[in-house]
């Protein structure tokens, strides 16, 4: 295996949680999640030789992963042409948080699932603690706009949790 392939595999391994979280936020069922995960990694690999190291790797990665996820979501989960049949790309072992946290997490995921595709991207980036500047770079909007939108979504989120309490 060439070094470039190894480097890429390492980066994917280090960022597999991000890919999984994006897939989980844009797809409701496991088959679609698997298709989307493969498509994201395939597109990342296709663009890998064009990656300019002067830019932040995370910005590049989020842009591709979210662009692929939004396009996939708009096609309503129709599988793409790069999907391999058979084994699972991302294997998930049974792991539970404590009951209260699990309940809150499920409510948070439900909330994200109900958002429009662009708002989903925004809230994921916010939860990943990206700066407003980086969110603006990834989304292609101004930092002021990011602040307004994040504030609005946070208010909705608080309301959701206060109803739940």
């Amino acid at each position: 295996m060439q070094q470039v392939q190894k480097d890429f595999l390492e980066i994917i391994d280090a960022n597999k949680r991000i890919i999984f979280k994006i897939c989980n936020s844009y797809c409701r069922n496991a088959v679609d999640r698997e298709d989307l995960a493969q498509e994201i990694i395939f597109q990342l690999w296709k663009s890998w030789d064009r990656y300019d190291s002067n830019f932040k790797l995370s910005t590049w990665m989020y842009r591709i992963a979210l662009n692929v996820a939004i396009s996939f979501y708009r096609k309503e989960g129709k599988s793409t042409e790069t999907v391999l049949m058979g084994d699972q790309l991302i294997e998930v072992a049974e792991e539970k948080l404590e009951e209260g946290l699990e309940k809150n997490l499920s409510a948070l995921q439900q909330f994200i699932n109900e958002l429009k595709p662009l708002d989903k991207a925004l809230i994921i980036l916010y939860l990943e603690e990206k700066s407003h500047k980086e969110i603006a770079d990834i989304m292609g909007i101004t930092t002021t706009n990011v602040a307004t939108k994040v504030g609005r979504i946070k208010d909705q989120l608080k309301q959701r949790f206060s109803k739940q309490d």
Partner: protein, 215 residues
């Protein structure tokens, strides 16, 4: 629940995933080597099929035009030529769309890339609109000088009004088949079905992007 608690919840989710997720290296390597192609799900190549069928049709029309031109009437020749030109333009637009789709850069910012994709998708409507420009040829190919000389009333009061009507209808559709009319009844009746739904949704998504951009 406060902001900090929500962020912490997300972090705990991240920690949970750190323990529970593993990547199947075999599939990763296959994706890299594009061995995938052998095990692909049926490729979505309808668009390329449409282009090949379109090109074959153009070749056929051109062949007939070339061989018929010497003995067919000027009206048939001009009608077939107009049909040929419009078909070439439509197939050309379709090929251009496919080239642009292949050139899409997914590492562009999300709004820019999604806007391009949605616009490309909705541009299929433009191809349909262009095809309507050939409407009048369906009433011009059968005109001949005998009709004009021997039955001038039929020519001036039946044939010409039909040509004029079809020209008007063709231009009207050319101008009106666009996303601005997406909610009109005639438009919905005309573009009905799964394939069109995706294109019509892209129009709504363009509006959603504009809304998102405004803040």
């Amino acid at each position: 629940m406060e902001n900090l608690e929500i962020i912490n919840l997300w972090k705990q989710y991240d920690e949970k995933l750190e323990k529970s997720l593993s990547l199947n290296k075999k599939i990763l390597v296959e994706l890299q080597q594009q061995k995938a192609k052998k095990a692909l799900k049926p490729a979505r190549n309808y668009k390329w099929i449409a282009v090949f069928v379109g090109l074959a049709y153009i070749a056929l029309i051109a062949y007939f035009l070339y061989h018929l031109s010497s003995f067919a009437s000027i009206f048939i020749n001009v009608s077939v030529a107009i049909h040929l030109v419009v078909t070439i333009i439509a197939v050309g637009m379709y090929i251009r769309q496919l080239v642009l789709i292949n050139e899409i850069d997914r590492s562009e910012d999300i709004l820019q890339m999604q806007q391009k994709m949605a616009k490309l998708q909705s541009s299929t409507l433009k191809v349909i609109a262009v095809c309507f420009l050939q409407f009048p040829v369906f009433a011009t190919w059968n005109i001949n000088f005998e009709l004009i000389d021997k039955r001038p009333l039929a020519f001036w009061f039946i044939q010409i009004p039909i040509v004029a009507l079809l020209t008007y209808v063709g231009i009207w559709f050319y101008k009106n088949i666009n996303l601005k009319n997406i909610n009109k009844r005639w438009f919905r009746m005309m573009f009905y079905g799964a394939e069109w739904n995706a294109i019509l949704k892209s129009g709504k998504f363009i509006d959603e992007i504009k809304e998102f951009e405004k803040g």
